[in-house]
C-alpha cells in the first residue's frame, strides 16, 4: 500500500473491522499480516484510534461524519 494516509468513503454503518478487511485485501501481504489475522479478524496487536481515541470494539458501526482513523502497528526497537 505504502500510503501514509488515505481518504476513504465508508459505507452506511460500516465498522472498522470491515474497513480493515477491505484495506488488507488491497494492501499487500505484509500490510495484511499486520492488520488482520488468518481468520480475517483484526489483529489484537493493532491499535486503532478514531479522532485520537483508542477504540476497542472494532465491529461497532461507525455512524459519524468525517473522522480520522489511525492504525498503529506495534513497533519494537532500541
Amino acid at each position: 500500500m505504502g500510503a501514509d494516509s488515505e481518504e476513504i468513503e465508508l459505507g452506511q454503518n460500516e465498522s472498522i473491522q470491515s474497513l480493515l478487511k477491505g484495506l488488507a485485501e488491497r494492501g499487500g501481504k505484509d500490510f495484511a499480516e499486520i492488520v488482520i489475522d488468518g481468520d480475517g479478524a483484526p489483529r489484537r496487536t493493532l491499535l486503532v484510534a478514531v479522532d485520537g481515541q483508542q477504540i476497542i470494539d472494532l465491529d461497532e458501526p461507525l455512524d459519524i461524519g468525517v473522522v480520522e482513523i489511525t492504525l498503529i502497528p506495534p513497533i519494537s526497537g532500541g
Binding site: 501514509d4 505484509d30 499480516e33 499486520i34 489483529r43 489484537r44 496487536t45 491499535l47 484510534a49 485520537g52 481515541q53 483508542q54 477504540i55 476497542i56 489511525t70 498503529i72 502497528p73 506495534p74 513497533i75 519494537s76 526497537g77 532500541g78
Partner: protein, 250 residues
C-alpha cells in the same frame, strides 16, 4: 538537601518551575533501571545521569559490535568486543562521577526479572524485543513500579508510561506478542536518541512532579514528517492477564 557541588552542577535546571531543590533531591534519591543501553537506552541513561539520578542500573547482555556504532553513542570504536554494559557504565561514570552506575552484563529473562526490578524505583524499557518488554511490564506491574516503555522503528517512535493500577499496561495494549516482528530493525542514531529523550523527560517529570506526565496516552513520533501526536488509550483492560486483577487507582 543538596551538597554545594550538586547545587553547582544542577544550578541551570534548578530554575525550572516546579523542580527546585526538592525535585532535584528526589532525582538524587532514585534508582533507575535502563534496559537495554543501545541506541535508545544509551542516550536515555546519559540524560538521566546528566539530570542527577542517584543510581543507574544498566542492563545489557553482550559485547560491542562495529554495527552498533551508528547509534550507540556511549560506546567507542576501540571498545569493540567489550561488554556493552561495562562500556556504557564507564562513559556515564566519567561524565557524572557523583552518581552510582551499576552495569549488569545480562538481558532481561524470566530468571533475572525479579532480581533486576527489585533493585530499581523506576524502569526504563528500551529493549528491542517484545519478549523482554513484556517481562519488564509484568514484573513492574507485580511490584507496582512505574515503567517508561519506549520503542522505535526506522523514523518512527513510541513512548508510553505505565503506572500499574492507574494506566493500561503493555499487555493491555498488546494482549499478545506481535508475530510479525523481526530482530533486525532499521535505525539511525538521531531518531533513536530523540525517542530516548522523550522517554527520559517523561521519567523526570514523573519523579519530580514538573509538567504533566502523559498518562494513559501513547506518544507517537514520526520523524519522517516531524509529526508528534498522542493517542488517548482505552482504560486498562479488566481482562488483562497482567494488570487486570489490580484495583483501579489514581
Amino acid at each position: 538537601m543538596l551538597s554545594d557541588s550538586q547545587r553547582a552542577t544542577y544550578s541551570w535546571q534548578l530554575d525550572i518551575p516546579g523542580l527546585g531543590e526538592a525535585g532535584q533531591s528526589r532525582l538524587g534519591e532514585t534508582t533507575a533501571l535502563v534496559s537495554r543501553v543501545g541506541g535508545l537506552g544509551g542516550p536515555l541513561a546519559m540524560s538521566l545521569a546528566a539530570a542527577g539520578i542517584g543510581r543507574i542500573i544498566l542492563v545489557h547482555g553482550g559485547n560491542l559490535h562495529e554495527s552498533d556504532l551508528n547509534r550507540q553513542t556511549l560506546m567507542s570504536r576501540d571498545w569493540i568486543g567489550r561488554p556493552r554494559a561495562d562500556c556504557a557504565a564507564e562513559t556515564i561514570a566519567r561524565f557524572n562521577p557523583e552518581i552510582e552506575v551499576v552495569p549488569v552484563d545480562e538481558n532481561f529473562t524470566q530468571d533475572n526479572a525479579e532480581r533486576l526490578v527489585e533493585m530499581a524505583d523506576i524502569v526504563f524499557d528500551c529493549a528491542p524485543l517484545f519478549e523482554e518488554r513484556f517481562l519488564m511490564n509484568k514484573e513492574c506491574v507485580r511490584t507496582q513500579k512505574p515503567l517508561i516503555d519506549s520503542a522505535m522503528y526506522s523514523m518512527q517512535g513510541q513512548v508510553f508510561v505505565v503506572i500499574p493500577g492507574a494506566t493500561p499496561c503493555l499487555a493491555c495494549i498488546y494482549p499478545e506478542i506481535p508475530g510479525h516482528w523481526r530482530r533486525q530493525f532499521p535505525v539511525i542514531g538521531a531518531v533513536s536518541s530523540m525517542v530516548a529523550q522523550i522517554a527520559a523527560i517523561e521519567g523526570i517529570k514523573l519523579l519530580t512532579g514538573i509538567g504533566k506526565v502523559c498518562l494513559g496516552e501513547l506518544i507517537m513520533i514520526d520523524s519522517g514528517k516531524m509529526d508528534f501526536t498522542k493517542v488517548k488509550l482505552a482504560p486498562k483492560r479488566g481482562d488483562c492477564g497482567v494488570c487486570g486483577a489490580l484495583r483501579e487507582c489514581s
